[in-house]
Amino acid sequence: MQPNLKVNIGKLELKNPVMVASGTFGYGEEFAELYDISKLGAVVTKGISLKPREGNPMPRVIETPSGMINAIGLANVGVEVFLKEKMPFLRKAQATVVVNIFGESVEEYVAVALKLEGTTGIAALELNISCPNVAAGGACFGTDPGTAEMVTRTVKKVTSFPLIVKLSLQVTNIAEMAGAVAGAGADAISLINTIPAMAIDARTRRPVLANVTGGLSGPAIKPIALRMVHEASKAVNIPVIGVGGIMNGTDAIEFLLAGASAVQVGTANFVRPTAAPDIISEIRSYLLEEHFDSVNRIIGQLQI
């Protein structure tokens, strides 16, 4: 018998626990040329702001040992174009859509959430309070539990969609932060975002990225992400979505064991475009081999 892969993120039921992370999947169009994106647990869109953003100057990305640093600068088409040009495609592709949103002020978060309200085909919102790459790209909301609580509570009031809050690693106490956004009404939390980092060219004696710093992602951050997911999931009763360096099915299983109810695949999409559907198959194989009838049997089942 095929194991059951369905998981619940609050009210939202996902057909499997494998989502793709914001900023690594565009708005789904490119990957849809390679596979059926409706097979994914969910597609998390590129972060959407009220107005379109061109993003940072070049260079924007550099590979580092077991990872990469990016400073894209939240380039996106803006909420109006997203609704008009990107959502119709995602609906047609029958993807489970989670719209990642960010703002430079609480008012902007609210304005974006209001514009999305009532849109057919959106399954949930993901609140980005943790992008490290723009001066006011939400990171200031994600480092202080009081501010994170306030923005979560304010957006929750104006949206009818389930609300996932994506947390930053730059907090003194992840349990306190997770508790704060859970208390403010978040339906789930996702973590971790990329880790602020930099690369230097010794020959030119300059930073490699035009933005000087960027966000580190990829296998290099997986052990840190696992620890954070483990701590956060013990601290709150809402579902936790694990993100950070997941490259294969085994990595995903590790996050589920640590307490994540679902995972997001990010940098792996760049390395192997079929990474996410491959990970779904690998999770299924693992469950068969280990004789679990449902993926829910392994969530949080880390033996210590």
Binding site: E30, V61, N70
Partner: protein, 252 residues
């Protein structure tokens, strides 16, 4: 766009740092100027590496690789018979205007790859003048192949070891004037492309340039490879490019 596990059909070493790989992709079609993202074998690097398509015949795709770092070193260890994942054909290639009867192709060093493909596709249809410059003769690639395509080859090297001594753009400026009925197609270092675009703007020659950018995904989602346009927008080198009209690009 396809992701294909391709067997290495052949590997030919060209001098100290270059080699050509034939990959059995089974693909049939591409547009000159398009590229592939090649998986780096384990022990190398994380991200794929982009390579311009040199040719595609009988389902075998050829790329040319310059060994410059960890990724290309790991790729250089591939042997015939082994398999590697190839993603492509990617990006927007050259588009050739019918009304121009002379194509002036301008390559700098390693930038010859997409222009070889373009020369092959135009061979027999247009007069092709192929300007090719490099630091030294060892960096001039595909010379025999270009000759057999029947192009008019005009070489320049900075050390004078082949063709005229100096920059290839200097040779173009000296030899060509008017450029009536001609279009430029260029690929190479940014300095060469910028110089070609200036020349083109001055004499009003339609010009397409193939730009090289560091890229993570190659398929348009990471937004890491963008090119700044004159209108202030950014376009993706991997999707709207790598070939752009030189007049829309903002040159430094």
């Amino acid at each position: 766009m396809k992701e294909t596990e391709a067997q290495v059909a052949y590997k030919e070493i060209d001098g100290e740092k270059y080699f050509r790989l034939g990959l059995k992709t089974g693909w049939n079609e591409f547009v000159a100027g398009q590229f592939v993202m090649l998986e780096v074998p384990s022990g190398g690097t994380l991200l794929r590496r982009p390579f311009g398509i040199v040719k595609l015949a009988g389902g075998v795709l050829e790329i040319c690789i310059k060994v410059v770092g960890k990724g290309t070193s790991a790729i250089s260890l591939l042997q015939p018979g082994q398999t590697v994942s190839v993603l492509g054909p990617l990006g927007t290639g050259f588009s050739v205007q019918k009304e121009k009867d002379t194509a002036v192709l301008i390559a700098g060093g390693y930038g010859v790859a997409p222009l070889f493909a373009l020369a092959a596709s135009l061979s027999g249809q247009k007069k092709i003048i192929f300007y090719y410059g490099a630091k030294r003769s060892a960096d001039l690639l595909y010379l025999d192949g270009l000759k057999s395509l029947g192009v008019e080859l005009r070489l320049a090297t900075e050390d004078g070891s082949a063709g005229e001594k100096g920059l290839v753009t200097e040779r173009i400026e000296k030899e060509m004037s008017g450029f009536e009925g001609a279009a430029f197609f260029a690929c190479g270092p940014e300095g060469l492309l910028s110089a070609v675009s200036k020349l083109a703007a001055r004499d009003n020659v339609p010009t397409q340039v193939s730009l090289e950018r560091y890229m993570a995904c190659g398929i348009g989602v990471c937004l890491g490879c963008v090119v700044k346009m004159k209108d202030g927008s950014y376009q993706r080198a991997c999707r709207e490019g790598p070939v752009f009209d030189s007049e829309v690009v903002l040159w430094d």
